[in-house]
Amino acid sequence: MSHETHVEVRTQAQYEYDKAHSKAHMRKQVVNFAIMIFLTFVAFASVVAGFPATFIAPVILLLAGIQVVLQLYAFMHLEDRSTHMVGVIEFFIWSGGFLAFTFFVAFTTIIWWG
């Protein structure tokens, strides 16, 4: 089952380059994490601050949307285009998101109509 596996020995220079590369990538992930914490903090603070609900609700939903895209693409590595069948993965996950949106629209409009 692992017949496709190709193992190669990296040279010391290549090894050190890869190591530095993944270290730099990890630093980026920590920055992404800081952004997520910041967005969460803004969402909670804006609710506590007591702005009108009609203004705050869309804003915190937008913040949640940004945070989820960060999770999917940075933490869950969708940004890595070398992932096997990344297009199929994206098609499925965004289709799931689209279905979620139709549920939301249906349940907020039809159920209490009239």
């Binding site: 089952m1 496709e4 969460t40 096997h84 549920f103």
Partner: protein, 208 residues
């Protein structure tokens, strides 16, 4: 090639989780499962939104007076941090540092346990003040949605700790690297769902 082949940092593949066909298929399969899980959560979210603050006449509990933001904030921080610690575990996996993988996965489990303890406390508190599962349509929808997420957390904790124990003496190889990676993807997804729960349930609940 033997799946249990030993590696050195120099021979360890750049993408160990996708170096075998099994690993590749496992990741795609897990993502398709996560897409279906999205639909499952969408249905309980939509139900919650439709039934929020609805119930029998004279119902005493409304979302506005029920939720406590400090608790929701601490739970959010715990889960968000556990997401970062599993990213650290995957970073160490890339560098063929198995003790790093184990340590950071272990911290992820501890943070997840902290989250779960707070959630159990919260549910217990609600039931204690009379807001039980059968109290109203609102309470049923709330416990179904947040409880569904809690069950996912429990499954994730069993999954990750099972991986740590089962592979404690094996060391990293191409057999268990995709397993750790899949568990970490699942754990991130739990965080994705929680982002919507703290926004839609707790923050928009307090907004009224």
């Amino acid at each position: 090639m033997d799946l249990n082949q030993k590696f050195t940092p120099q021979t360890w593949p750049k993408h160990p989780e996708q170096a075998t066909l099994e690993g590749k298929n496992k990741i795609v399969g897990l993502w398709i499962f996560l897409a279906s899980d999205t639909v499952l959560f969408a249905s309980v979210f939509a139900t919650y939104i439709a039934l929020k603050d609805h119930g029998p006449a004279g119902m005493t509990f409304a979302a506005k007076d029920l939720y406590e933001l400090p608790l929701a904030f601490i739970m959010t921080m715990l889960l968000l941090t556990s997401s970062l610690t599993s990213v650290y575990a995957m970073y160490h996996m890339k560098n063929y540092n198995y003790s790093g993988v184990r340590t950071w996965m272990g911290i992820t489990v501890l943070l997840g346990l902290g989250f779960l303890a707070l959630e159990i406390y919260e549910f217990q508190h609600y039931v204690h003040i009379g807001f039980g599962y059968t109290q109203s349509a609102f309470s049923s929808a709330f416990f179904t949605l947040v409880g569904m997420h809690g069950i996912h957390v429990i499954i994730g904790l069993i999954w990750i700790s099972g991986l740590i124990f089962r592979n404690s003496k094996r060391g990293l190889n191409l057999y268990n690297a995709p397993k750790f990676f899949a568990a970490s993807l699942y754990w991130h997804f739990i965080d994705v769902v929680w982002v919507f729960i703290f926004t839609v349930v707790y923050l928009m609940g307090v907004l009224g």
